[in-house]
């Protein structure tokens, strides 16, 4: 009986300690193991319980926080009418990495998107303007100083299909909506009042995305794609300007050169 009471008392103490310590651990956003000095027989039970309890508590609280972050991202991007952004995509191919730097302007309202290629040198100076209303893509080719016009469907089959923005620019922001995936927060760093989150997103096709987002804009600024624990590539987004009221001219302005249609 004495032993049973002792165990019950220890259990209650462990529960209270676990509750308070788990709250502290959550505040620091890093799970900590709890060291308790208890009799050996009770210690085993309390450790197991504490670990399970803390695991459950962490999962619940992280899920809630992750859901909140995902909601914030969704809210930040879902009503975007236009966006101006610099994108750097680093693709890993075996041992080589290739970086493509783009300046992108897109407008859901005007159904237009503009991509200016800034790197590598093999594409620097090229400008693509995709016009969903007219279902065509205009590409300025510096090497011949002409604009080649082709159907949007043809172009989207080539590469825009990979992004699926060829057909519908309203999907532009859906890429940053992670609410349909399992998301967890891996890291949270606060610098000068701005919190930078690292999210792990279980994307389809066995891909895992690691997404970095700051709470000052809630617009993701880095996305790394892993497939079977192998880094496939990283996309960095910078100089993001949302809803600046991009005009049709700002997006479609191309050099006044000869036009050829495919």
């Amino acid at each position: 009986m004495k032993c049973s009471l002792k165990a019950t008392a220890a259990f209650i103490m462990v529960s209270v300690a676990a509750l308070s310590l788990s709250a502290l651990a959550l505040a620091e956003d890093s799970p900590k193991s709890i060291q308790l000095s208890l009799p050996p027989a009770v210690e085993e039970t309390s450790d197991t319980f504490d670990q399970k309890y803390q695991q459950v508590m962490n999962e619940i609280s992280i899920s809630e926080e992750a859901a909140e972050v995902v909601d914030q991202i969704k809210a930040a991007v879902e009503d975007v009418q236009d966006v101006t952004v610099d994108i750097a995509i680093t693709e890993i191919r075996e041992r080589r990495s290739e970086e493509v730097v783009l300046h992108v302007k897109a407008s859901v309202q005007h159904k237009l998107a503009r991509i200016e290629f800034q790197a590598p040198s093999a594409v620097r100076g090229m400008i693509m303007v995709a016009d969903q209303a007219n279902m065509e893509v205009q590409t300025f080719q510096p090497v011949t100083n002409i604009i080649v016009v082709r159907g949007l469907e043809d172009a989207s089959k080539e590469a825009l299909a990979a992004l699926s923005i060829g057909q519908d620019f309203t999907q532009l922001t859906s890429y940053l909506d992670f609410s349909q995936y399992h998301v967890e927060i891996l890291e949270k760093v606060k610098t000068e009042g701005v919190t930078d989150y690292l999210l792990k997103v279980d994307a389809p096709e066995d891909e895992v995305w690691y997404v970095r987002v700051k709470d000052d804009s809630w617009f993701p600024h880095e996305i790394s794609v892993y497939e079977e624990d192998v880094l496939q590539g990283t996309m960095r987004l910078s100089n993001v300007v949302l809803n600046s009221g991009l005009s049709v001219e700002e997006i479609t302005d191309l050099p006044k050169v000869k036009i050829e249609r495919i």
């Binding site: 620097r124 510096p142 825009l160």
Partner: protein
């Protein structure tokens, strides 16, 4: 009937045939009737070209085509002709082109052909690379005479080019004739200019397309010869 007049009538009839018959004309992308005055006197003829363009990946395209012309000079029985087949491939900022040609005039510069030569076949190739607004490239040309003389001529032309209100190209010419040159192409390609200085002297060529009319005006000038022409496209 004078031979040149007979040829002129035949060529004019050919032109009228293309003008009148819409379907046959559609077989070629562009047809034109050149009419000009050159070193041998008045010239007229028929030019034809056909070109197909198709996409190569997202950032490239390729052009495949044939073209050529046939002209008759006043008072001469011999006709001048030049025909070619070409392919150009553009992949991002890199361009390749190859042209195989044959004829009995020199390879035209801005549609101007000044000199008649021995019948020959030849090839012209070019690799071009741009880095945004500046770039460089290498062109090469070789031609073999198919006459008894069997003459062989070649030239290698490295160049740099940049875009500023058009495309400016500065080149060196190495090979059978050595010199340097400059060319300019207006953004809409309505004005083209080519100046070359080689051992034999200076040559200038200019081509002007009239925006609202199916007409192209051209002129070529060397130390010894000059040619002016107008081409009516239909």
């Amino acid at each position: 009937m004078e031979p040149w007049l007979r040829s002129l009538i035949v060529l004019s009839l050919l032109g009228c045939l293309f003008l009148a018959a819409g379907q046959p004309a559609a077989a070629f992308e562009a047809e034109d009737l050149p009419f000009g005055f050159g070193p041998q006197g008045w010239q007229t003829g028929l030019g034809l070209s056909q070109e197909q363009i198709k996409a190569r990946g997202l950032l490239g395209y390729e052009k495949t085509g044939i073209g050529g012309y046939l002209t008759q000079t006043e008072g001469q029985e011999e006709t001048f002709s030049w025909f070619s087949g070409h392919k150009q491939v553009i992949l991002g900022n890199i361009g390749y082109s190859l042209e195989l040609f044959g004829g009995n005039t020199e390879r035209p510069i801005l549609s101007t052909f000044l000199n008649s030569t021995e019948p020959h076949v030849g090839a012209y190739g070019e690799v071009s690379r741009m880095y945004g607004d500046i770039g460089h490239g290498l062109a090469g040309q070789a031609q073999f005479s198919v006459s008894e003389t069997g003459e062989f001529e070649y030239s290698i032309i490295p160049y740099v080019q940049f875009r500023r209100q058009g495309v400016w190209r500065f080149s060196l010419s190495l090979g059978s004739s050595i010199g340097f040159g400059m060319s300019y192409q207006e953004p809409q390609e309505k004005v083209k200019l080519d100046i070359t200085f080689v051992r034999e002297g200076l040559s200038m060529h200019v081509l002007l397309s009239l925006a609202e009319h199916p007409l192209t005006l051209g002129a070529g000038l060397t130390q010894e010869q000059a040619q002016l022409f107008i081409r009516y496209s239909f």
